[in-house]
């Protein structure tokens, strides 16, 4: 069975500082990884994905994520945080088996203080 762990319930950073939101996964076969963002009372929005290729993936709003196969991690990063980045972030994984169901992590709340 596949699983995703987001070890931090909340990450606090100051505006302008770099941010990292951690994600580790477990899946059989090749992983396909996603990050989503959720603003209050809204649905999840796609940020970025890793399918194959370059381990550093760039996405929306200046976010990027680094795929590390040996550490089974897919941490979300941004060089300079904005207050408007404050939201709930979800990591998700699937594989190429039948069904392609995504498994989501428990979410990490990012708080960016001015």
């Amino acid at each position: 069975a596949q699983s995703v762990a987001q070890p931090e319930d909340q990450v606090n950073v100051a505006e302008g500082n770099p941010l990292t939101v951690k994600c580790t996964y477990s899946v059989s076969g090749n992983p396909y990884l996603f990050w989503y963002v959720q603003y209050p009372n809204r649905g999840l929005q796609f940020l970025l994905k890793y399918i194959t290729g370059d381990n550093l993936v760039k996405g929306s709003y200046g976010f990027e994520a680094e795929f590390n196969k040996s550490q089974t991690s897919f941490h979300l990063k941004k060089p300079s945080a904005l207050v408007s980045d404050s939201a709930l972030y979800f990591c998700a994984v699937t594989n190429n088996n039948a069904g392609n169901m995504l498994t989501f992590g428990g979410g990490t709340r990012l708080m960016v203080k001015p």
């Binding site: 989503y36 649905g43 929005q45 699937t94 995504l102 979410g107």
Partner: protein
């Protein structure tokens, strides 16, 4: 382009009343459809998913049921709501067999408060 519609946006219902939440997808055919519940602004709980008309898989036993009367329509229902049914309900769709490429697309959610 594909879009997903979910309504209503907010709903306040008394305990014991019925529930019907609707989700429709446009611009695609044969989608996989999903209902999630999110409590207290945190993790997602998969409630139901469907790979075709009339085909519903339930992930957790609960007071809710789902139906898919048409290819792009997914309905979440309850005959008698409980206080514990309160939460934020999200519908999502994915292209069949293509989740690894495109992931899921989520609706805007329904905030249900049972009083």
């Amino acid at each position: 382009s594909q879009t997903i519609h979910q309504w209503p946006a907010t709903l306040v219902q008394p305990v014991g009343s019925p529930l019907s939440l609707e989700c429709t997808v446009e611009g695609t055919s044969n989608p996989n459809l999903y209902w999630y519940r999110q409590a207290a602004g945190r993790g997602l709980q998969l409630l139901f998913y469907s790979v075709g008309i009339g085909q519903i898989s339930s992930e957790v036993p609960q007071n809710l049921s789902a139906s898919r009367p048409q290819d792009r329509q997914f309905i979440l229902s309850s005959k008698k709501l409980l206080l514990s049914d309160s939460g934020f309900y999200l519908c999502a769709w994915s292209q069949r067999g293509r989740s690894i490429v495109y992931g899921y697309t989520f609706g805007s959610g329904t905030r249900l408060t049972v009083v």
